[in-house]
């Protein structure tokens, strides 16, 4: 790495470390980690059927098909 690259990164690293420091100030045992960006719960749909794809459409992008099924390499190697 050149000196100029090191100078640039030193600055960036400083910003990153101070950001981590700020997070550590507020992250406490009683604050659960965020798993979803939107504060919503219970988003449901009714149990009503909707049209899907035909077998031809479903298999159209398959690398290989056989007997209207997706053909895939064998799952386990031989012993």
């Amino acid at each position: 790495m050149s000196d100029s690259e090191l100078d640039a990164m030193a600055g960036q690293l400083d910003v990153i470390l101070s950001a981590v420091g700020r997070v550590q100030q507020v992250a406490a045992a009683d604050i659960p980690p965020t798993s979803h960006a939107v504060p919503l719960t219970n988003v449901f749909r009714p149990d009503t059927a909707a049209a899907g794809l035909s077998a031809e459409e479903a298999l159209a992008a398959a690398p290989a098909a056989e007997q209207d099924r997706f053909r895939v390499p064998r799952i386990l190697d031989d012993e």
């Binding site: 449901f44 149990d47 899907g52 077998a55 479903a58 298999l59 064998r74 386990l76």
Partner: protein, 496 residues
Amino acid sequence: MTTTLGAYDDVLDRYAPVLGLETHVELGTATKLFCGCSTAFGAPPNTQVCPTCLGLPGSLPVTNEAAIEFTVKIGLALHCEIATWCRFARKNYFYPDMPKDYQVSQYDEPLCTDGYLDVVVGGEAFRVEIERVHLEEDTGKSLHVGGATGRIHGATHSLVDYNRAGIPLVEIVTRPVQGTGHKAAEVARAYVTELRDVLRDLGVSDVRMEQGSLRCDVNLSLMPAGATQLGTRTETKNVNSLRSVERAVRHEVERQGARLDAGERVVQETRHFHEDSGTTSPGRSKEEAQDYRYFPEPDLVPLAPARELVEGLRATLPEPPSVRRAAFAEVNGFTAIDLEQMVNAGVLDLVGETIAAGASPTKSKGWWLGYLVGRANELDVEVSELAITVAQVARISELEDSGELTNKLARQVADAVIAGEGDVDAVIESHGWKVAGEDELIVAVDAALAAQPDIAAKIRDGNQGAVGPIVGAVMKATGGAADATRARELILERAS
């Protein structure tokens, strides 16, 4: 390595079994868990799929409300706590049975926890504690091509049908069940039977084991009697009938017992159950050494079942099977022992339907428990799969009651129906089976008395016990068509 088996009861004299059962139930919702595709069984391959369950780019899952309600109902029926907040988790793996390369499941935050289910075996009650009930999506169905009999080993390639991928699947996991002793296999079977009945009464699944909508994994370990530290367990996968649950436990007890007796150790592994032989064989380490890298599913928001919803669902729960059965027993005059025997043999519903079809409770019970269960075992099928309908059993029972068939003939008729010879009356007609008439009976009685004069003499001397062999001879001579009571009367009459 010891490959012999111990005898089940011998092994359990010396070792305490510890059971664990994981049961998967396909929910009977109309649509899949995260998309609107149909869940109907038996459709042509890949015709019940859409961008969401095929994991195509740009698609997003939305949870089926009915699946959540069904799962909560299962949890409530099993006396579980219902989570106030929980999330789906992504289980990552590289089998092609899920097109997304992951399965949406629940990991450390199941919807229901800490319940129980009580079963009775041999008059003894066992409480099976439920650790968790969680919701996940079922996987696609793979067809392995090129190997022997469709098995994964030796296959050249596989063909996958994703119709099943995404169908809501509930997993019910027990805590280790201890203290069953010699009844381990029966307790395992009784638990799955009871669970099936609870689920069916809830109306949340069609619970058809033969179609895979109820599937069971059986965990078993042994520890020396009196020990407190659990032994090494095996997990036998895909045990798909009630009978097989019992057989799988018996086999693992016998296999592990022989290992431990020989001073060897039990290997912790996944095993496969073989329906034909009732034995298990090891899966391969590659199939189990998995790091699924679970993490919260980012495409779905958390679930927070409202308490009003939970209490509302609790209010809709049907009475437990035990209560329903007690009422059934009361109405039909069955004892607690009768009831337990019928429940654990899996014939209670069949008996009820046979009664509804017109047979007496005693006869209905007698036919199923006393004869047809045994026939099913001989034929190596589930009793419910016997090729005889409740209406046919009721008809045979009616003919027996009216004296048109003896019990012996009635059983022959049942066997012929099961063998596919036709309906009850047609079978009787074609074989010409009918109860021996008075004239025929007299001829047979006289012949039997004449053939054994010494016994005839004893009868003349008032020895009632001597009648038996002559009745036997008469039955034999008439091909089972003699009414035994009338034969006895005639023997006493004609001997003197």
